[in-house]
Symmetry: C2
Subunit: 407 residues, 2 copies
């Protein structure tokens, strides 16, 4: 158990007093008329949604010193709150409209105060419901580009970039990704579980030495290639969207506690891997063609917006040695990384720890089929990542795979 275990955990009853003790927060809501709800899942964090009589809101997120999962006690330092605060702080200058308003971090009690997003929806839930939110995928490409530029050698003087990278080291959270994304799904491991109907698919994948070696190379780059402050967990459950603004691409990124200086392709891959999960669900449920073709276009939408935003920022870069030619070849490298990481992020959701509702809530037969589509597609992405030249190819591979596996 962490030495922090003795800090005071907030409750619905103590939140108003806590807010009054922090002047910057006390200004935002009327604590005398505050209603407070705890909406976190209780495994990792407490999340308090507060609203006063005038309708002004505030959200407090407090990190717990452990995570209770798969039946075992797993201590996890609440210092991850500092990483989340760092991510929000970076976004404050890079792309403030793409994250919740940030009202400060309390490093003693590991509390982040931020804008209340209770009127927003988790994008994964919207995708699961078959909703089309135009523009969100593009907004996410822009988010990755603007965060990358602002925190890297592109937008910072070298000394500042090096110091920020050192400061942002996040080994405990990185270890989770290293284990659950890059290691456990490729071994027999107690964290793994999957529908018995796909056991032969899983076995084939785990025995594919070339694939496992490619995953190892991607893991090594994840662990050594400090390109920029990346989100580190940018799946569709870390993105909030607004139904009423569906056509404007409004979105806010949350849950930045996994941030560290890593390869930018990892964030883009997390998005693409989750588009695959949404697509497999859509195919399994025989969603309307309009929804499916919209999902098919998401990888390109994200990628094009990422490139466009970075090219737009490029003239203001800090280092002149970074030529236009450099950017184009850097983008090519990021693209191939992204394809590989997309595969890894999709596979872990089928085999390893922490499943996703896209697949888990399907009826048994559809679940088995969708899981097989994801595994086969994602394996090809990893193995063929250097040959896959455009984002259009990604879900085309899923479509082909789905036809091979026709029910």
């Amino acid at each position: 158990m962490s030495s922090h275990a003795s800090y005071e955990v907030l409750t619905v009853a103590t939140v108003p007093t806590y807010i009054r003790s922090r002047p910057a927060l006390a200004r935002l809501v009327d604590t005398a008329t505050l209603s407070v709800r705890e909406v976190g899942d209780g495994n990792l964090n407490l999340v308090f949604v507060c609203r006063d009589a005038k309708g002004r809101g505030l959200c407090l997120k407090q990190a717990l010193p452990y995570v209770r999962i798969v039946g075992e006690s797993w201590p996890l330092t609440p210092a991850r709150s500092a990483a989340e605060a760092r991510s929000l702080d970076a976004a404050l200058s890079a792309c403030p409209e793409l994250v919740p308003g940030f009202h400060g971090f309390d490093p003693k009690r590991f509390v982040i105060a931020m804008e209340n997003l209770s009127e927003w929806t988790v994008w994964r839930a919207a995708l699961n419901a078959g909703e089309i939110h135009r523009g969100v995928a593009g907004t996410m490409g822009e988010y990755v580009a603007r965060m990358c530029f602002a925190t890297s050698l592109f937008g910072l003087q070298p000394e500042a970039a090096h110091l920020r990278a050192a400061e942002a080291v996040n080994p405990e959270l990185c270890r989770i990704t290293e284990d659950v994304v890059f290691t456990e799904p490729y071994l027999e491991h107690e964290h793994n579980s999957y529908a018995s109907g796909i056991a032969s698919e899983v076995e084939r994948l785990q025995r594919d030495e070339r694939l496992v070696a490619e995953v190892g190379a991607l893991k090594y780059r994840f662990m050594t290639d400090g390109q920029a402050l990346i989100h580190g967990d940018l799946h569709t459950g870390s993105i909030m969207v607004r139904r009423e603004e569906a056509d404007r691409g409004s979105a806010k990124v949350i849950d930045g506690e996994f941030c560290f200086y890593g390869p930018v392709g990892f964030d883009l891959g997390a998005l693409a891997g989750n588009y695959l999960l949404a697509y497999a669900r859509g195919l399994a449920l025989r969603r309307p063609a309009g929804f499916l073709s919209w999902v098919e276009g998401l990888p390109r939408e994200t990628w094009d917006a990422f490139c466009a935003a970075l090219r737009a920022l490029w003239p203001s870069r800090a280092e002149r040695f970074l030529s236009d030619g450099f950017l184009e070849s850097w983008l090519e490298g990021v693209w191939h990384d992204a394809v590989g990481y997309a595969g890894c992020k999709a596979i872990r959701r089928i085999i390893g720890l922490a499943k996703v509702s896209d697949i888990q809530t399907l009826p048994p037969e559809e679940h088995r089929w969708a899981a097989a589509v994801v595994l086969r597609t994602a394996s090809r992405w990893i193995a063929e990542r250097n040959a896959i030249g455009t984002p259009d190819g990604l879900l085309a591979i899923a479509r082909e795979t789905a036809m091979d596996l026709e029910r």
Copy 2:
């Protein structure tokens, strides 16, 4: 001027008292009979060689808070001493016999206490004199491999590797390399100077857009790719050899203040780039064939020893995901990096700040010719780095270039 500028600078007269104030040092020599000489060049550091009546020795290296060079005052934090101590400390467990004995670091006065190497010779001086020291190049390959393994994900648990990388951040010293190795030689810059006879060679190089873009890509990797704690300045002037043990490959690496987590190929490239400088001098002075063919073999000797040492350590690696196949493809990447960095390290010695005696002490005509051989060879190394498959090819290119430029 740094805020440390007020710390007390040692003098020949105050060294004995200083040693008495540090019990760990006072045990090593008899301060009552100590003779002290200051042998540093006074630009960056003070170096005191101490010897007592019984012949026991000690060396103290104190960092000055600035470097006075090219006529301007250049403040430089003495905290670089801490980086040098970190490098020595890492070597203490990785390869203690390949560095001077380390007797501790005084962070208040920026003093490193180490073994007295005054009976050793700087390898560059030995090379300049046409001396053959068999085995040293192999020892250097082994040094790079053992330091790499001990400080990286190969030999450390991931959390430890990440934390050590963050701790070892060294932006001020890295900035020097970023500027003088990767930037200034490719621009018109006040730090540049060269024999007027090679002005057209320099101009051609600086106008070669493809070359400059490749150097930019190498610079970016230097700045972002934290593979291991590298030496950061591993030229032949940072290597001490012993004449009397010429055939045993005895060597000790010094001056680790540029160390940080970077690409391992940078250290190997520094060695190869300096072999080129030694080779160009040897050709210019028409050294005996025995000397020249020995120098031609140095890149292979270093590379083979590097690979052999890493393969020998591989079975004890910390992370099982690092397969044998991973090692082989990682080595291939390091090799191509090394070829590129070798080119950069050779070019900066001809065009940029901080020249080397290999070339500077040649008579004018030989100087001009050797400088041209180095520039043309190094440019080809950078441009063709992904096509140069073996270490034998490196100085073969220099030989070809020398024939093209026949005097």
